[in-house]
Assembly symmetry: C2
Homo-oligomer: 269 residues x 2
Amino acid sequence: MTRRTADALKFSRSERDAVYRAIFERRDVRRNFLPRAISEPVMMRLLTAAHHAGSVGFMQPWDFVVIRNAATKRAVKQLFVEANTEAARRYTGLKGDLYRRLKLEGIEEAPINLCVTCSRRRGGADVLGRSTVRATDLYSTCCAVQNLWLAARAEGIGVGWVSILDHHALKRVVGVPKSVTILAYLCLGYVSKFETAPDLEMAGWRDRIPVNQLIHYDAWGSHAYEEERDEHENHEGVHQNGRRGKDKTRRRPTGVEGQSSSRSLRHRR
Amino acid sequence: MTRRTADALKFSRSERDAVYRAIFERRDVRRNFLPRAISEPVMMRLLTAAHHAGSVGFMQPWDFVVIRNAATKRAVKQLFVEANTEAARRYTGLKGDLYRRLKLEGIEEAPINLCVTCSRRRGGADVLGRSTVRATDLYSTCCAVQNLWLAARAEGIGVGWVSILDHHALKRVVGVPKSVTILAYLCLGYVSKFETAPDLEMAGWRDRIPVNQLIHYDAWGSHAYEEERDEHENHEGVHQNGRRGKDKTRRRPTGVEGQSSSRSLRHRR
């Protein structure tokens, strides 16, 4: 490898750390928005970052509707209120009390709302790489959202993904054609601070799952580390997705999606 | 804002540039893999980065099956060959010739294959934020993939997403339970170089769409810049998704998903 190739390839330690910083300090933001406007050049950097996600067959199926209009935001906020009133009914007792205290959107506080769509037919009938999994265009668009989310963090801009919206009604508000799928509705703005952990974790709604519980080696159910199971209710059901198919995990003992119920700390490798 | 808060908030210019560098230099890699192993600590950094994506209701629906086993890779490669033989039939003539010359996977060359899944039922029946759009758990998992993809770029590790696979057959090979959705099958390894543009762009399969064509302001179809339309066939159909609903874009003239057919360069704002 020539020196030049190596330089072009390698990130310095500080560059690498910056990428991880963006990843670990990115938050789903619903509060602390400042009224400060996002300038056109900054907005273009964010959207260009989104546009440089990979996409199946290079179809680039995304569009971005940048919403600054207060009336549109107000209409979307109303859609949120309707959908959230319905959603809140699912939670009763203490969980219901907690749910109603959560702040789940910053639609009107955020200087910019961004509606990210996916045009399912862009690129024609036969998009390269989409023959087996048609939803890969949606997946590509999600990758674009994550690019934007991380770029925004590096710019000091908070992004919140508001999912509690009726997308059919939202299409009418934003004027999105019926044939186009709304993928995400995001709220963007500079913030006074980024929280140090996800809101739902800080509120006690749910805990972070230890990452080792989610890593399998060579086949589903083979964990490198069989750690003490955490009895916390939030971790229960991590691997309780029900019936398995007639696959090779059948041969394993028990229970929780093919995971051994062993409690011993065991290093496989 | 105290000094400390400001420091905790702000990325330096070089940190910001590093994040954009990862975003713009990330590639979907199918070649140039080196046999060099990815160490356990590096692999854990990548998976921890993935695990720190946001997720709807903080459900963290993902699992990661790390595949090093040559026999498993060989079986997956066989699935690719079958699916790709079928997919190639869709392309004839020059496009067919080009298609058959493309390298679309690096399953056996990559030291690590990674199967990323989404457990649709993790977190129980009522996942916060998923009442209106059930697929948000899949979307969250895509965000995790993008985190990993960018972290890998910063580590000098190439990642290729192989989508031309029958996921039902793939589940049997990897032992993934029927109830769990396979989201992505990735090939990971250190590479001798990263290409400067997407493979499909370099091969002339499709061009990058100018980002301005994909940005709308306040409502679908309102573009800030009405640029010269590029007549290149790859851009045709960018906004030809067919019929619109009875929404306000109806009031706009024509044609291409509500976009004006004006050819003039016009700044709206």
